[in-house]
Amino acid sequence: MPEITCREALNQALHEEMSRDPAVFLLGEDVGLYEGSFKVSKGLLARFGEKRVIDTPIAEAGIVGMAIGAAMGGLRPVAELMTVNFSVVALDQIMNHAAVIRYMFGGKVTLPLTIRMPGGGGNQLGAQHSRSLEPLFAQIPGLRVVVPSFPADAKGLLKAAIRSDDPVIFLEHEGLYGVKGEVPDGERMLPLGLADVKRTGSDVTLVTLSRMVYVCLEAAGELAKEGIDAEVLDLRGLNPLDMKTVVDSVRKTHRVVTVEESCLTGGWGGEIAARLMEEAFDELDGPVLRVGGADVPMPYSKHLEQAAIPDADKVIKRVRELF
């Protein structure tokens, strides 16, 4: 199986879906001539032309709103916002329009729309370019929230997102574009809303997603040396939320730590913890513990930034509290 980067996997998904379905088109800042600020849209303008790969003005609300209208008109837009931080500029379009239009019009209209956005910290980009907003989008009914980690997942999930008839928020991590992984050749589709066990274990479940999957795998490797066998469960998205796989894992391990890069307060880890208490309280041998981003605006200085983002050490320390 060929090893490719996340960036290449996403690029393959876009090439394949655009050539499969003429209604699919791309719009966003610098997605055409510049091929995307992270080069995810490489080769698309040259292959599909300006009608289907649109370099937009810097107007995030305009981009998302235009994508919504185009979806209502029968197209299947894929909008790219340059970073998840800029999605806040378009939040009215995302929250008050994309998420609610189908419902408030009684199901009489469908919005097949994907909004891709890179995010996350670790590159010293400071407070306005480093957010992890998964919990924000997961809080909005009407949106699907998809968050890949491995390249194979990135490809399969992006293809499924584009084919979905619902608005999908597709959150990529800037720190993962260059990470390689095996991706099967040819058609690869992954249904939305299926978590994936990235490492099986019997003693504790690390529930996580995005770049933190790699952090948890590293932590699990270290914990194994101490005789703690950790299962790493990649949610791969927050809506639909695959609680079944989480509960199945907890039935086996009876201990849970959630690990997210988003700020701990109001993070999705708290939601998982609450649901586990409601759905699997008797399976728990201890409290559900959480690891999350520090509740601070992201600092610039490297050592401060690293202190704000969970790493394997923090995960290991939290896991040890359960034993």
Binding site: P57, G62, V64, M66, A70, A71, M72, H97, G106
Partner: protein, 328 residues
């Protein structure tokens, strides 16, 4: 596609339809405060009385396949586009037979069949949607146009400018139609916009801007007809400012103390329905008896409309959880 003729060449039945549509909207809207006070409907209620000539003039200048999108004062727009008053009223009642199946309410009416693509409650939020609809038309090689209506207050929002820029940039067939009724709730244009002549705002995006008397239905019809023709044939947006006035408050809860009695009186004298009726009679295009019978039929229709809404069922409780997603 039927050729849209100049207003002066409109046939008698077309003129009578214009009259009927305006009367229908007025009857409908004027029945709402009473029904609201009886507790038949809830939420906000932004009534269209006084602005009928804009919605009806626009709709008359469009083809059935053309799209229309509006803001939250849209009862009159969906009715002008051919929406069934029974279903619009049922929506206000929150009934399952409503245009949005009871899930939208006064501000969120939708009728895909008639290409009324929704009423929206965030000021100017629907303008970029109109650009996207226009893009989908050009993308698919169609020759429809999108009529996007909004209030004067919308022209001060950021997305207004994003939408105007993108529409001109991508040459999408969108008619931006500003219904200038003078006020954003209580704040007059002179207190909210640095540019007082709102049609001039389109100049920043090299989009043709025109001003029209929004109390004169045939003037609106002619202006929109020409704009639609241009957008259809040449692509690219057009911008129209229709000067109008709402006879009631911003919403049902607005006592309207910020407008003088003198001002209200002067605008009432320009009532678009009264004046159109008078001109039809003066020009001998219709007889008093014909117009009276339309008035009567529309009153009858309103009664039937209210009866329909009254007798319709509320949405089933399980509807709370449907229509959120297309796929489960």
């Amino acid at each position: 596609m039927t050729e849209k003729v100049p207003a002066e060449e409109l046939k008698k039945e077309e003129l009578l339809k214009i009259y009927r549509d305006m009367v229908r909207i007025r009857e409908f809207e004027e029945s709402c405060p009473r029904l609201y006070s009886q507790g038949k409907m809830g939420g906000f209620l932004h009534l269209y009385s006084g602005q009928e000539a804009v919605g009806v003039g626009v709709a008359q200048a469009l083809e059935p396949k053309d799209y229309m999108v509006g803001a939250y004062r849209e009862h009159g727009l969906i009715l002008a586009k051919g929406g069934k008053p029974q279903e619009v009223m049922a929506e206000l009642y929150g009934k399952a037979t409503g245009v949005s199946r009871g899930k939208g309410g006064s501000m969120h009416m939708f009728d895909g069949e008639r290409r009324f693509m929704g009423g929206y409650g965030i000021v100017a939020g629907h303008l970029p949607l109109a650009v996207g609809l226009g893009y989908s038309i050009a993308y698919q090689g169609g020759d429809e146009v999108v009529a996007c209506l909004f209030g004067d207050g919308a022209t001060n929002q950021g997305v207004f400018h994003e939408a105007m820029n993108m529409a001109a940039l991508y040459k999408v067939p969108v008619l931006f139609i500003c219904e200038n009724n003078g006020y954003g709730i209580s704040t007059s244009i002179s207190r909210s916009s640095a540019v007082k002549q709102l049609y001039k705002k389109s100049a920043a995006y090299e989009t043709p801007g025109t001003k029209v008397d929004g109390m004169d239905v045939l003037a609106v019809y002619d202006t929109v007809r020409l704009a639609a023709e241009k957008a259809r044939q040449e692509g690219g947006p057009q911008y129209i400012e229709a000067i109008t006035y709402r006879f009631r408050g911003h919403s049902i809860s607005d006592p309207g103390t910020y407008r003088s009695d003198q001002e209200k009186k002067l605008w009432k004298e320009r009532d678009p329905i009264v004046n159109f009726r008078r001109s039809l009679l003066e020009k001998g295009r219709a007889s008093e008896a014909e117009l009276e019978s339309i008035d009567y039929e529309e009153k009858e229709l309103l009664e039937e409309t209210i009866k329909f809404a009254e007798n319709s069922p509320f949405p089933d409780p399980h509807e709370l959880w449907t229509d959120i997603y297309a796929e489960h």
